[in-house]
């Protein structure tokens, strides 16, 4: 039911424990994204994440609420980082608690697919030839579009 946009690393174990609480729902799904040491074209040594704070907060809150409505979640949480990140650090964590696995997994997927294209964050990779802004990927747009077609239905 909450969003955190933070500079510090994500404490995944603590996030999980807080999400499920003392009485977990029947099904819990989470996703953790980490900084990779390579992109499609080159090695990556560091990742910088720029963001638009006020808009990011609103977009992520609306996204969590939409996932909760659509999949009947009892609890959800989205955590996204900004700033300078090293390889293998956490970038993003989402969690969803539902009655059944299908809803929990689908809600996590909806949150991830949508935040990649709709939340105002921009990645810049530090590679062998300097810093490069990451271009949006067609595959991310396609994954986002699947949920958009459900919005119209």
């Amino acid at each position: 039911m909450t969003v955190s946009i933070q500079r510090e690393p994500i404490d995944v174990a603590r996030e999980y424990a807080q999400l499920v609480g003392p009485r977990p729902g029947a099904a819990v799904a989470t996703f953790t994204g980490y900084v990779r040491d390579h992109s499609d074209a080159h090695a990556v040594s560091q990742l910088e994440l720029e963001h638009y704070p006020e808009m990011a907060q609103k977009v992520l809150m609306a996204l969590g609420e939409r996932a909760a409505d659509q999949f009947g979640l009892s609890r959800w949480r989205i955590v996204h980082r900004y700033g300078l990140l090293d390889v293998a650090e956490t970038i993003v964590w989402v969690g969803a608690v539902a009655e059944h696995r299908g809803e929990a997994i689908s809600a996590s997927e909806l949150m991830m697919d949508t935040l990649k294209t709709d939340a105002p964050f921009w990645k810049r990779e530090q590679g062998p030839d300097g810093q490069v802004w990451v271009a949006s990927k067609a595959v991310d747009q396609h994954r986002r579009a699947r949920w958009r077609s459900e919005e119209k239905a």
Binding site: Y52, V92, L115, K116, T117, A119, P120, K123, S136
Partner: protein, 86 residues
């Protein structure tokens, strides 16, 4: 009327500004995002090129909009390339 312009990512770098107040002198009352873009494009070739990229995203008061959205005094209008979070 005066509005706040915000620029992010590669657009912020290319244009060398992240946030400023912008006064639309030739218009009163309301204008569209397209009108603001065209007024800002008068600042020079760099601005014109940057603001007319085909994949430019416009957010008005934190919501993504098309260029026909109406802008009013005190609004916050942001321009940026496609988002790449997650």
């Amino acid at each position: 009327m005066s509005i706040t312009i915000k620029l992010f990512s590669s657009l912020r770098e290319v244009l060398g500004e992240s946030e400023f107040e912008f006064v639309l002198t030739e218009l009163d009352g309301t204008a569209t995002v397209a009108a603001v873009k065209s007024a800002l494009s008068q600042r020079g070739a760099t601005w014109q090129e940057a603001l007319n990229q085909s994949n430019l995203v416009h957010a008005l008061n934190h919501k993504v909009v098309w260029t026909d959205a109406v802008v009013t005094a005190g609004d916050e209008l942001a321009f940026f390339p496609p988002m790449t979070g997650g």
